[in-house]
């Protein structure tokens, strides 16, 4: 092998992965085999398997995972089918609401549902006044409802893409062969969108398993693995790090299974058809039309509800943490006077992480796409690992590895930036390598034949062509970075607190007004980034997945 620039990039990449991924994850894997005194033991895994508390958490994780997945599948398929097959007024507005649900921070949903349906919730109170009593939203039912409305966009975006790609001639052929409409859906359309359906469903499942904020706020005793790991880690007295890592391992294994399944399904059963005959949207009439509109708007509205609630509550008049009648800007004043450093932290950390992601992701993406050999395909595989790592696990892993010399990073800003960096890096690598594979190599060859050296050809031709995609990817990484809660929650100290962490604390402290204002600010920042991303590469909602 010749030593050149790309060999260096490959070596650098492996070093990066070793330090930021293999070392922490390895230590988590091993950490579960030691007790508090540092002696090797199987006791942690034995407890995990035998103690009812952990068995229940494991079972609960599966229940919320699959429950969230089915909810998301139901809502997402209805949404996708109606929007891609029927003429819906304001369909762009509806899919905007789906985007809002997707980019809103994970726990704002939980909080807003509490505002409406909690013990003292608005809707519950209203219903009680007219004599209807419904149970508060806490517990499993609440978690599942929030997950369904939070994660349906994954299914919706995947499936509507697939439905838009079903050649209408196929359905017409089936019709001409004498199939009834229902048979047509069952035998033609469903098999064709099944890969997208299963991929979107598993995506919802993976996110539901890893979600920490929702069960933490809504669970009220309904514990899942992510919350158990955090509880064990953060307990003031008797913090049990090795048990927390043992749970992390269980969580990694669980999500790894589903990620691999998702990859497998999204590769299998992909049908490539020609798109000569694009599907057309049918104009419904009468009650069918009303029903389709009602379904689409109801789902879209409920999904966007958290955002709407927090926007409204952020403008309510408050005194201290208590809401007063009427509207005011006190919550935003409090951000301005007391929480400026939190906002600044979030922006600085996210921007630094994204800068690192863009630089490293572009180089590694080029390496993976253009210098294909065994080394790079291994690399491609290694980049799957951050996908399967729930944020809470990365956080615990980083704390346990970078806690002392030679790398004492605990409590620094760098450790938060790095944890965001490694989790989002795979997306950047994939975006770049996909973009590069779509550019014909003959473009660079043309530049070479015209007198540009290979490196200058890359700069002059390839870089300008992938730049919009890279910028768009950076914007989307920024959205993920600034909304990151679970790993920062483990890694923050007073100086390095970020907006999502502060919102989480404010909600626990009962200061809903400030939490809502901070959430709204976060959402506005995310919204600007998404808008910028769409400007750079055209509106493509699926890039948000």
């Amino acid at each position: 092998m010749r030593w050149n620039f790309w060999t260096l990039v490959a070596a650098f990449t492996w070093g990066l992965l070793l330090l930021l991924l293999f070392l922490p994850v390895g230590s988590v894997l091993l950490g579960g085999f030691y007790d508090a005194q540092g002696d090797a033991t199987f006791a942690n895994y034995q407890r995990l398997l035998t103690e009812p508390r952990f068995q229940r958490a494991f079972l609960n994780t599966l229940v919320v995972g699959f429950g969230g997945m089915f909810g998301a599948l139901l809502l997402g398929s209805i949404m996708a089918f109606c929007l891609s097959r029927f003429e819906i007024r304001g369909s762009r507005f509806v899919s905007l609401m789906a985007i809002l649900a997707l980019v809103s921070p994970p726990f704002i949903g939980a909080y807003s549902w509490i505002v409406l349906f909690g013990a003292n919730g608005l809707v519950r109170r209203g219903l009680r006044d007219v004599g209807v009593s419904i149970p508060p939203i806490y517990g499993l039912a609440g978690i599942l409802m929030v997950f369904a409305f939070k994660f349906y966009p994954y299914v919706y975006l995947m499936v509507s893409g697939a439905l838009g790609n079903v050649n209408r001639s196929l359905e017409e052929a089936a019709e001409s062969l004498g199939l009834t409409p229902w048979q047509r859906v069952r035998k033609i359309s469903f098999p064709l969108v099944f890969p997208a359906l299963s991929a979107g469903g598993l995506l919802a499942l993976i996110h539901a398993i890893a979600d920490f904020g929702t069960p933490q706020l809504l669970g009220r005793g309904y514990n899942v693995l992510a919350t158990e790991a955090y509880t064990l880690y953060s307990a003031e007295v008797g913090s049990n790090m090795s048990m927390a890592t043992a749970i992390s391992v269980a969580l990694i294994l669980l999500s790894m299974i589903f990620v691999l399944l998702q990859r497998y399904l999204s590769r299998r059963n992909v049908y490539h058809g020609n798109l000569i005959n694009k599907p057309v949207k049918i104009r419904l009439s009468g009650w069918r039309n009303a029903l389709a509109h009602a379904a689409v708007y109801l789902i879209g509205f409920c999904g966007a509800l958290p955002v709407i609630i927090s926007a409204i509550y952020s403008f309510r008049k408050t005194r201290g943490p208590v809401f007063q009648p009427g509207f005011g800007l006190q919550s935003y004043e409090r951000i301005l006077y007391n929480l400026g450093d939190v906002v600044r932290n979030s922006l600085v950390f996210s921007v630094s992480a994204v800068a690192l992601i863009v630089a490293a992701g572009t180089l590694i993406g080029v390496l993976v796409a253009r210098r294909t050999n065994l080394n790079t395909s291994l690399l491609d595989g290694a980049f799957m690992i951050p996908y399967v790592m729930p944020g809470i696990v990365i956080g615990i892993a980083y704390v346990s590895v970078f806690n002392g010399p030679p790398l004492a990073l605990t409590g620094t800003a760098l450790i938060i930036v790095l944890s965001i960096f490694i989790r989002r890096l795979p997306y950047a690598v994939r975006t770049t390598s996909t973009a590069l594979r779509q550019i014909s190599p003959s473009l660079e060859e043309a530049a070479i034949s015209l007198g540009y050296s290979p490196f200058r050809s890359f700069l002059k031709v390839t870089v300008p062509l992938i730049l919009p995609g890279v910028i768009a990817g950076a914007m989307l990484s920024f959205v993920t970075a600034i909304n990151e809660l679970s790993s920062s929650l483990v890694l923050y100290v007073g100086r390095t607190i970020t907006m999502p962490v502060r919102i989480y604390q404010l909600i626990l402290d009962g200061d809903f007004g400030t939490a809502a204002a901070l959430s709204s600010l976060l959402l506005v920042i995310s919204g600007i980034a998404v808008y910028a991303a769409f400007r750079f590469m055209g509106r493509d909602e699926r890039s948000l997945l």
Binding site: S442, E445, I448, S449, L450, G451, Y452
Partner: protein
């Protein structure tokens, strides 16, 4: 020594040899075509000339200079690509000017030369447009202008017309031919389309499985193929089945070729005789009897497939007009002129006829 010399060029990829000791030479101002089926090595050779893939062994000399020692971006060779490779982020003007920038050409001269090149490919009016929305033919014109504007020492074209529709292909190939003669540059053109090769080239090199089958003018390639592969790849061939009928026809014509294992004749050399006339065949023709199996009318020509003693034969009728029509089953006679017969040996080489 010729302008371009390729000597025993050899290229090995893992597991197979793409070029097996290919030698050829091209003169200044010559339009030279590499013709062959996909996988024959023609593109590999072209890319070796451009420098994108180096040879495993062999020599490439351009104007006496060893090309293999020069990196591709310093070779001064213009290249036209099958997928056009037009830079989508640059305007038509900037695409064409792209190669002049590293050559440190003054801005005023860039404008003049780009304008001139665009006029040559009839795109002068579109200079400020972005190429993305342009048709394939227009994009390839940009590709050609971009390659010739740098006044390269050699112009390479890799199947430049194969992504265009049939009518445009004919139109553009004539323009390319005229342009190449006008700027008087040595051009190497790769194609798998035999008609295109015949129409455009000064000389054609027919390649197969990494080897050269024959190099010659279009007339030599079509009219006097030296191998069975060339005869079958360029044009079509009626193979005459070995039979007593063939033996008697050959002896009637007084032809002999002891090593011949295959006798063949091109469809357009077969002459259909009116069935009712009892015209006596001359010594210069053998007459075969048969029945019409199929009649295909193509406008400017028609094909009649006959079942004969010599096996199935296709006869081509030029300018069939309104009346020519043959019903299947109809009896028919065809004459094979003596000088239309070709013979090949078991290895596929052309055999010289005796007698």
């Amino acid at each position: 020594m010729a302008y371009l010399d390729v000597v025993r060029a050899r290229k090995e990829f893992a597991g197979f040899t793409a070029l097996q000791d290919v030698s050829l030479n091209v003169e200044r101002g010559e339009f030279f075509t590499l013709l062959g089926p996909s996988g024959c090595g023609k593109t590999t050779l072209l890319r070796a000339l451009a420098g994108f893939n180096d040879l495993t062994s062999g020599e490439i000399r351009l104007d006496g200079e060893d090309l293999r020692r020069i990196p591709p971006h310093k070779r001064d060779i213009g290249m036209v690509f099958q997928d056009y490779a037009v830079f989508p982020h640059l305007s038509v003007f900037d695409n064409v000017a792209f190669g002049l920038k590293p050559r440190k050409v003054a801005p005023a001269e860039i404008r003049a030369r780009v304008g001139e090149a665009l006029e040559k490919v009839r795109l002068g009016h579109l200079a400020e447009r972005l190429p993305a929305a342009m048709s394939g033919g227009q994009q390839q014109r940009i590709g050609i202008a971009r390659a010739i504007v740098i006044r390269p020492r050699l112009l390479l074209m890799d199947e430049p017309l194969s992504n265009l529709d049939a009518k445009l292909r004919v139109e553009l190939r004539e323009e390319i031919r005229a342009l190449q003669k006008q700027i008087d540059i040595a051009a190497i053109y790769v194609t798998h389309d035999q008609e295109e090769a015949l129409a455009i080239s000064d000389r054609i090199c027919v390649m197969n499985a990494g080897r050269i089958e024959q190099i010659g003018t279009p007339q030599e390639i079509y009219g006097d193929p030296q191998t069975r592969f060339v005869a079958e790849f360029v044009g079509t061939l009626n193979r005459l089945e070995p039979s007593p009928a063939l033996e008697s026809d050959l002896s009637h014509l007084g032809l002999k070729a002891p090593r011949a294992t295959l006798w063949a004749v091109r469809p357009e050399r077969l002459r259909l005789l009116p069935p009712q006339e009892a015209e006596e065949a001359s010594e210069k023709e053998a007459v075969v009897l048969g029945r019409v199996e199929q009649f295909t009318y193509l406008g400017r020509e028609a094909h009649v497939r006959l079942a004969t003693d010599l096996g199935p034969l296709v006869a081509q009728i030029a300018d069939p007009g309104l009346i020519a029509a043959f019903a299947p089953g109809e009896a028919a006679r065809a004459a094979i002129p003596r000088d239309a017969l070709m013979a090949f040996d078991a290895a596929g080489a052309r055999v010289k006829l005796e007698g």
